[in-house]
Symmetry: C2
Subunit: 350 residues, 2 copies
């Protein structure tokens, strides 16, 4: 039999952050696609009644200020409320419920509805990052988990093209960070080192999964990536555990790498690249203090659904929902394709 | 403050099968929807060149027999192959890969492309179930896990409307069954009883989450359901651990309840209801024997994406991908709506 080649032969890879495996089937890249296609993420004509615009009146009658940079307000249809009656204690181990308190906010990135991160200036992205830090500082005092996330593009269920993200803070530690907390803790106890710091060290040596890099941050396709062009942003210096640990140099470099990565994303299929992205750092809350979670390393993750073009996505269905995630192109192939994308946004090309 | 009411007040619920929580925010049912809508799952005109038809020639040049009931053939673009070189041993705990062998098959349910489970006769559905048992018998001898699953509808990435499912058998135990194996084992060790048998006993008493029931099977919305109209089929008698344990009475009753549940699904939004569904039972393989896994109870799960209508689905994005699943209507409300759906398919109404 031929020798094993990761870009040709199926195998499974382990995600140590989530204690999960992914099936990699590179030979399947040849599969033709005759299924559902998506509407291309086109530039919609600006909607003058967009409720996220400066000075717009929202559905609840409140008026936005004439903001010129970022703007944060409470989500008008929050999944989490601050004050609600609590469920009674559960009576059976198979029917357990528990109290959930929280708050949901919306944060506009920019007053202009046609803007996106790859088209914004470094100063403008820096304003977004500074506001994220403020939000985490404030909400992190009271809440165990503050999830900052951006759903971008109609394909991601985003109902408004205005550049914005959401912030959901909760009294409980949600599933994803709960598993990452456990896995990183176990690794730290075993090796006395941070898992992601160790991981980053190896990736910087290997280079094959790195998409873009500056003095403070690396954007790479994780060895265990599930989505076709999934990436992770990792800080190179100082081991920040939470966004609130970032210094000014790291914040500016984060703005720069976010812009660079997103330009490559947009250039890949010549479209405004849809994704869900967000930040994961050490849990917060009243009992937490800076530096208390050396097993954690702050990171951002980008989960984009597109597979072959602006209109053909990867469906995570059937086998993925019932058994295990499966990917066609390898993480190394994805990193290479992104790396080779131009560093000038296709809209700004003369 | 008001007293707690599960249909009004947010809370989290625990899924003991997967060791995960779901956020239930029933107050959010009021949220308007202005985001992406899907094409309604319409009846496509039958395609005379459909490669799944009896006697059709498939893309690899092979011709299907003139089949009149079910028909199984190897997937022409398999994610899992039987003979491939194996990856070398991993050199670093954060870069682990492992061998994956397997096979992927496609199984047509019926020669007629316009047929679906709710429209098929009990005899025809029984033929499907008997073939599933055959497949599990054969592949289960060699493989650790045999995943039978159906992706139904273009919205689920299904590229061919012909009624069919897939069977992916693997040398490894995939994530989802691996977690279910662990959780059911832990419960069994602690309580000396099967988790799902205990669970079913309680649900039969409570009744509020039951959608439809016959002498052998119950279809219910699990207490911890994540998708809006997610359901689970559980066997009432004899504790079958795998599909191969089912007796003739159970198989016929399974055909009946599958038809009944799917009629209700189709009637809910007056459309051919899309979903991914599949079966989970005790792992298989050479070392396994009937009756060896008393912690397991065979069950089917249906994971349908629609939320409000034939064109508005629940997006599992952003918060769901990065933090935790969230649902609006409660599992009890979903069960009630399905229960109240007519038992005669809307297409067969005079
Ligand atoms: O095999 P199909 O139907 O072409 O493909 C579909 O189901 C597979 C198994 O659930 C998924 O991996 C694919 O993403 C999906 O498009
Ligand atoms: O809050 P939005 O943008 O209206 O809603 C979107 O994001 C939420 C958080 O990821 C999801 O729960 C919803 O399913 C999705 O449609």
């Amino acid at each position: 039999m031929a020798e094993f080649s990761a870009t040709e032969h199926q195998h499974v890879r382990y995600n140590p952050l989530k204690d999960e495996w992914v099936l990699v089937s590179p030979h399947r890249c040849l599969r033709p696609w005759s299924g559902q296609t998506e509407a291309a993420p086109e530039d919609q004509p600006p909607d003058p009644l967009n409720p996220l615009l400066p000075s717009a009146v929202r559905s609840n009658g409140q008026q936005n200020p004439p903001y010129t940079s970022t703007y944060v307000f409470p989500n008008d249809f929050p999944a989490l409320l601050e004050r609600v009656p609590e469920p009674p204690p559960s009576e059976h181990p198979l029917f357990r419920s528990s109290a959930a308190k929280g708050t949901c906010r919306v944060m506009c990135f920019h007053p202009d509805s046609t803007m996106t991160i790859p088209l914004m200036s470094i100063e403008e992205i820096l304003a977004v990052i500074n506001e994220w830090v403020n939000q985490l500082q404030e909400l992190g005092r009271r809440y165990t988990w503050v999830q900052i996330f951006e759903n971008k593009g109609a394909i991601m269920g985003c109902s408004n093209p205005h550049p914005h993200c959401q912030i959901w803070a909760s009294s409980y530690l949600p599933n994803e960070p709960r598993v990452k907390e456990r896995c990183q803790k176990e690794y730290y106890i075993k090796f006395k080192r941070s898992m992601l710091a160790d991981y980053l060290k190896e990736e910087l040596k290997k280079e094959e999964r790195i998409v873009v890099k500056n003095d403070e941050w690396v954007a790479l396709v994780p060895y265990w990536a599930v989505w076709p062009y999934e990436t992770m942003l990792l800080p190179i210096n100082g081991r920040p555990q939470r966004m609130t640990d970032l210094n000014d140099v790291q914040k500016r470099a984060l703005a720069e790498i976010m812009k660079q990565l997103n330009i490559k994303y947009d250039n890949l299929f010549k479209c405004s690249f849809p994704y869900s992205m967000g930040f994961h750092g050490a849990p917060t809350g009243a009992s937490k203090a800076p530096g208390d979670s050396p097993h954690w390393l702050l990171h951002a993750i980008y989960l984009p659904p597109l597979l072959r073009s602006a209109t053909v996505k990867k469906f995570m269905v059937g086998y993925e929902m019932l058994a295990q995630s499966q990917r066609d192109l390898t993480p190394e192939q994805a990193a290479q394709r992104l790396r080779e994308c131009n560093d000038v946004h296709y809209k700004n090309k003369k």
